[in-house]
Symmetry: C2
Subunit: 343 residues, 2 copies
C-alpha cells in the first residue's frame, strides 16, 4: 500500500492525502477524518526512504561506538544511556543508528555518515581530555550533542553532563563526616574527562578540610573488578593504609571489597566503601551498616533522554548555537533502609 493507491481508493489526490496525514491545516476536517480512517484500515505507513529523500531529512540519529578499547560498549552505563535516548527517538519518530568502528576509523565514519546522509546528527560518548571529535563535527557541520564535557577545549559546544565534581565531592564529604581521614580514590582512566572531574571533586573535599592529598591513595584504570581488587590490595599493604575507598564503578567496588576481605578486614568496621553506581545495596558503610550508594544509572538514563531531546531540538530548529545542560546526579548516601535491597 502506497500513497498513490490509497489516494485512488479515496478518490483524492496524493497531495491531499499526504497533507491530511501530516496534519497540514488547509485540509478540511471531514476529509482528514476520512483519510486517516482509510489509512488505518489499510494499515498504511508512508515509505520511510521516500519520505527521507523528499524531505532531505534522514529522521535518524547516529551513535558511533569505537570498539578497539573495549571500555565503552561493554560499559553497562552505556546501555542505560542508549535506553534513555531510544525512548525519545521512538516518541519523535527517529531511528537510532549504531555504528561500530575500529578506533582509528572514527573520523572517517563521521564523514561518511555525513556525506551519505544517513543521519541528521550524532551523539558523542565518553569524551576524553582534549577530545578532537567535537571540532571535527563542527567543521563537518553535522549537528551533535556530547554526553560529557571536554576539559582542554576552548570553543563552545553542545553538551549534557552530570555534575561529577559535585557528586564526588559529596561522596568524599560523606566519608569525611564519618570520621575517615585516609580516603582512597579508585578512579577511571585518567584520559577520560569524567575521571578527571571526579578526581577534582574528591580533591576539593579534602582540601576544604585541610587534609593533604596523598598520591598513593589515588589510582586509575579500566573500571573492572580486577582493577578494584588489585589497586585496593596494593593500597591496603601501605604502611598507612586507607580506611575508606571511593570507587568510580560497581565492578571496581566489588573488587575493592574482595581485597578488603582477603586482607582479613571487616567491611563496615575496619573499612568503608562508597561508589558511584546504584545496584549497590550490599555495600555497607563504615558506621551504620547501612547501604550506601549513589544512583548513577538512573541519572545516565535521564542523560540519554536529555541528550536526544536537545539534539532533536537543534536539528528541528536548524539552530547551530551550542547549548548545554548540567545535571545533578541522583545521589543517595547512607540510605536508612533495613537490609540491603535485593532487586
Amino acid at each position: 500500500m502506497n500513497l498513490k493507491t490509497l489516494a485512488q481508493k479515496l478518490g483524492l489526490s496524493p497531495t491531499t492525502v499526504s497533507r491530511a496525514l501530516n496534519g497540514y491545516p488547509e485540509v478540511s476536517e471531514t476529509t482528514r477524518a476520512r483519510v486517516s480512517a482509510a489509512a488505518k484500515a489499510a494499515n498504511y505507513h508512508p515509505n520511510t526512504q521516500a519520505k527521507r529523500l523528499a524531505t532531505g531529512r534522514a529522521m535518524a540519529i547516529g551513535h558511533i561506538i569505537p570498539i578497539s578499547d573495549r571500555h565503552e560498549i561493554v560499559n553497562p552505563v552505556f546501555a542505560d544511556f542508549i535506553a534513555g535516548a531510544g525512548e525519545v527517538y521512538a516518541r519523535k519518530g527517529y531511528d537510532m543508528v549504531l555504528t561500530i568502528v575500529p578506533d582509528d576509523e572514527e573520523a572517517r565514519a563521521y564523514g561518511e555518515l555525513r556525506s551519505k546522509g544517513n543521519v541528521d546528527g550524532v551523539l558523542i560518548h565518553a569524551p576524553r581530555v582534549n577530545d578532537h571529535r567535537v571540532t571535527m563535527l563542527q567543521s563537518l557541520g553535522l549537528p551533535y550533542v556530547l554526553h560529557g564535557r571536554i576539559s582542554g577545549i576552548e570553543t563552545s559546544y553542545s553538551w549534557v553532563d552530570v555534575n561529577n565534581v559535585r557528586a564526588f565531592e559529596r561522596a568524599t564529604n560523606f566519608l569525611l563526616d564519618l570520621g575517615h581521614q585516609r580516603i582512597a580514590l579508585i578512579n577511571g582512566i585518567s584520559d577520560m574527562d569524567f575521571a578527571r572531574r571526579r578526581r577534582r571533586g574528591y580533591e576539593r573535599a579534602l582540601e576544604s578540610r585541610d587534609i593533604p592529598i596523598d598520591a598513593q591513595l589515588i589510582t586509575e584504570g579500566e573500571m573492572t573488578e580486577a582493577q578494584g581488587h588489585d589497586h585496593a590490595r596494593a593500597m591496603l599493604a601501605l604502611p598507612n593504609p586507607p580506611t575508606a575507598f571511593l570507587t568510580a564503578s560497581l565492578l571496581s567496588a566489588m573488587g575493592t571489597r574482595r581485597a578488603v576481605e582477603e586482607a582479613g578486614l571487616v567491611m563496615g568496621r575496619d573499612v568503608s566503601i562508597v561508589t558511584h553506581d546504584d545496584e549497590l545495596g550490599y555495600l555497607k558503610n563504615g558506621t551504620a551498616q547501612e547501604p550506601i550508594f549513589t544512583a548513577t544509572r538512573s541519572s545516565v538514563r535521564e542523560a540519554g533522554r536529555r541528550c536526544a531531546t536537545m539534539l532533536i531540538a537543534q536539528i528541528d530548529s536548524g539552530n547551530r548555537q551550542p547549548i548545554s545542560e548540567l545535571m545533578e546526579t541522583v545521589l543517595v548516601l547512607g540510605q536508612s533502609t533495613g537490609p540491603a535491597p535485593s532487586r
Copy 2:
C-alpha cells in the same frame, strides 16, 4: 556533491558514472579508473536515501529491544552481541537500527518497521519459551534470525545458538570430577529459553552419574549480584548444604561468593563456584586453587557476527528457507595459569 554534478565534471552521463562506481562490467576500465579517481577526489558518496528508494532496499538491519523488563538491554552480554553484529554490518555496508520499545508494543514495532521499509530484516534476542515473535515475523514476511532457540515451537525457523546444554553439562561434570555431590544451580529466569537448556545440561550430567536431582538446589531469577547472594545464602542454610555452585552469570557468581564468605566458609576449600562467563579469573575452584571460568562473552560476540552474516545472506539471496547454526561455547575449565588474571 551528487551524481549529476560529478558526471558533468567528467563529461559523462550519470548512468555511466553510476555503473562505473557500482562495478558493472559494461563500462571500460579506463573510464572506471577516471571515475573512481574523480569520486575519491571530490569525496563523493552516493546519497543513501536515494539509493534506498531506487533499489528498494533499506541496507539496514533492525534490532528491537523491549525495555520494560530490564534484563535485556542491561545485560553486558547484549553489548558483546551488538559489537559482533556491528562489525559485520560495517563491512557489508549495512546500518544497524536499534529500536527501544515498551514490552507490549513489540509486535507493533515489527509491523511498522516492515511497512515503513526502514529495515531489510531483524535480529531477535533473548527468546522466551513459547516465544511468539518468530511466527509473527514469518507471517509478516520480514527476514529474521533468532539469537537462541524456542523450545515450545513446532515450525522451523532461522537461528544461531550456543550449545547451552553441553556447556552446562560439561561444567557440571567438571565439578563432579572434583568430587562434589551437592551441586547447586543458580539459573536465569526460567521463562528464558537458554535458562531451560542450561538446566537440562546440569540435570543430564547429574543423571548420568545417578545423582538425584534436588529441587532445593536449583533456583532461578534475574542474574544479579543480589540474586546470587540471596539464593546462595538460603541454600547454605539448608541442613545438607551444597559444596559447589554453578551460576549462570558473572554477577550471580559474585553474589554467591559473598554469601559463601559471609557464611564463614572458605572459597576453594569448603565451596567451589563455576560460572558461565569469562572475566572471572578471580573465582577459584575447589581443589586446585586455579581460576575457573567458561568464556561466554567472546562466544557471544562471535554469535553476533554469525547472526548478522546469516541474516545478510538470507536477504541478499532472497532465500526464505530457515537455516540455523549451533555453536560450541568457548569453554575454559580449570585453566592452569598461575595467579588470577587481571585484565
